[in-house]
């Protein structure tokens, strides 16, 4: 169990995403009108402004687009983590997601272009597990 800050819900754009996390699903959206892949979750398609979106479930595998290893954060929950990563992950379905890559030594073990897979990390802080990634292999 970890103790990350929880999302603030109810919130209409991101609520279904976080319900998906409870179900062990990494959800994203596609636009019924123009076919665009939509992420960060929202109530309309940013490509065509259509309000007709469908939720999809990702296979949960992708590539590290970029990352940072945070050494200094004054928020108590993150001071406990020590050095930790934040990363943009390009999922294979075509959406980019902010997350973290868990690694024994983030400075050594994380690389741009590395393949990663999602897992859902339970939280002492609340009911919503948080999707995090680990290097594949």
């Amino acid at each position: 169990m970890a103790n990350r800050p929880q999302p603030l819900l109810p919130e209409p754009n991101t609520g279904p995403f976080w319900e998906g996390c409870k179900a062990g699903e990494l959800r994203y959206q596609t636009c019924d009108a123009c076919g665009a892949v939509v992420f960060t979750p929202r109530l309309h398609c940013p490509s065509c402004l259509s309000g007709d979106l469908s939720w999809q479930v990702s296979e949960g595998e992708g590539t590290v687009y970029t990352y940072s290893v945070v050494v200094q954060n004054r928020v108590p929950a993150f001071i406990e983590l020590g050095a930790y990563s934040v990363a943009y992950i390009d999922l294979d379905e075509g959406f980019r997601m902010l997350s973290t890559v868990l690694a024994d030594d983030p400075m050594r073990d994380i690389h741009v272009g590395a393949r990663v897979r999602v897992e859902f990390e339970g939280q002492e802080s609340g009911e919503y597990p948080v999707p995090v990634f680990r290097p594949i292999g």
Binding site: P5, P7, T40, R42, V71, L98, S99
Partner: protein, 396 residues
């Protein structure tokens, strides 16, 4: 050079202190407005346009005029982060050009240092449910980490090195050491070494968010300033020579699926501003770029066209953009920048102020015969949602 002369900066003031305990942000704004009007040779009764980024304690656009005691005909409360003042300068130009006002005042005041605001390393996600914060809050993305994401990708994509980017900190500190206000700032804010920097010192400073190190990060100070922008007929009678606003550009950028994080809003705002001004980047003498972090400068130099995409590392390496470096005429952040002189949170106004000083011949790191200057603000977060505001200034 410029096709027409529609509005000019004629009054500037930079509040001299970076640590001002007991002073309010509004005091800083009012003191700066008074001094900038004095600089221009104008009086309070001349002012008919008020621009405000909703800083200070007076209550933004609704309350500020009442606090100041002014009934302006133009009120503009554009707030787009640190580039607010470049956007406001663009709006002032347009309002003056269409005859809505003649004397516009931009002001800024902040006491971030005295209030111990952790701009770069604190929690900025708020307590109101928000679609974007909900996707960031669990991961501990600090503001500095956001910029570190851009630096990491830039290094991966173009082979940019830490050594090259350290040159930005080196040239900026070189300028700061010549600026008494910056030296006092670093002293008051208890910098470990108030001295010229070497590339090695930058590389040896502690990591804050890999790959960004302490000496690549701007300071958190108190401070503020004011800028007076006027119509040509007013400029003709002012005390100081005009810095004409000959081109402006405004843009925004945000994370997108498949997008290139190494490209900023400046790639949109820059060409618009240069096109309007009818000048090219290679004609520019002075470039003032919002140096929140080393990588911000590198990305914006590229996006504005001072070098090709991915080549900023070579442009800045070793401190080449110092005003007294003979390898290139272009000089950057000659006041000492946010890195080493002044960063209360929204630095954009100081870019306009130092650009104007250079065109007047008043800088502490004066480039001889500076004729053309660019002020480019980046507001928000470079690796996330941000804005770019470009203002091109020319002297007569």
């Amino acid at each position: 050079m410029a096709r027409d002369r529609r509005a000019a900066i004629v009054g500037i003031h930079e509040y001299p202190l970076r640590l001002a305990p007991g002073v309010s942000a509004m005091q800083i704004k009012v003191d700066s407005i008074r001094a900038a009007l004095e600089d221009a040779g104008l009086s309070w009764s001349d002012v008919d346009a008020l621009y405000d980024a909703q800083d200070g304690e007076a209550g933004g656009g609704l309350q500020l005029a009442a606090y100041l005691g002014l009934k302006p005909s133009v009120i503009d409360t554009t707030y787009v982060g640190g580039s607010s003042y470049e956007f406001q300068a663009a709006h002032a130009l347009r309002s003056i050009a269409c005859g809505k006002c003649k004397v516009a005042v931009l002001s800024y005041g902040s006491v971030s240092a005295s209030n111990r605001v952790a701009i770069g390393t604190g929690d900025r996600s708020g307590r109101v449910p928000n679609w974007r914060a909900n996707m960031e809050r669990p991961y501990g993305m600090t503001l500095i980490a956001n910029y570190a994401l851009v630096k990491q990708r830039h290094m991966h994509q173009y082979g940019t090195t830490n050594e090259q980017l350290a040159g930005i900190s080196v040239s900026t500190r070189h300028h700061a050491m010549r600026n008494p206000q910056a030296v006092k700032a670093m002293t008051d804010l208890e910098f470990v070494g108030v001295n010229e920097l070497t590339v090695e010192e930058v590389l040896d400073s502690r990591l804050v968010a890999h790959p960004l190190r302490l000496l690549e990060c701007c300071m958190i100070s108190d401070g503020g300033g004011a800028v007076i922008i006027v119509a040509p007929e007013v400029a003709a009678d002012c005390r100081k020579p005009p810095a004409w606003i000959i081109g402006t550009g405004e843009a925004t950028k945000y994370p997108e699926n498949g997008g290139d994080i190494t490209v900023s809003a400046g790639a949109q705002s820059g060409p618009i501003a240069f096109g309007e001004a009818g000048v090219r980047p290679d004609e520019v003498d002075i470039v003032m770029i919002y140096d929140s972090f080393s990588i911000t400068v590198a990305v914006c130099l590229e996006d504005l066209g001072f070098c090709a995409k991915g080549e900023a590392g070579e442009l800045v390496a070793g401190g080449r953009l110092a005003f007294d470096n003979s390898e290139t005429r272009l000089a950057m952040n000659t006041d000492g920048g946010g890195l080493s002189s002044n960063h209360p949170g929204m630095r954009g106004i100081f870019l306009l102020i130092e650009a104007t000083r250079q065109l007047r011949g008043e800088s502490t790191s004066q480039l001889p015969d500076a004729r053309l200057a660019v002020a480019h603000g980046n507001g928000g977060q470079l690796g996330g949602v941000h804005t770019g505001g470009t203002v091109i200034l020319a002297r007569d």
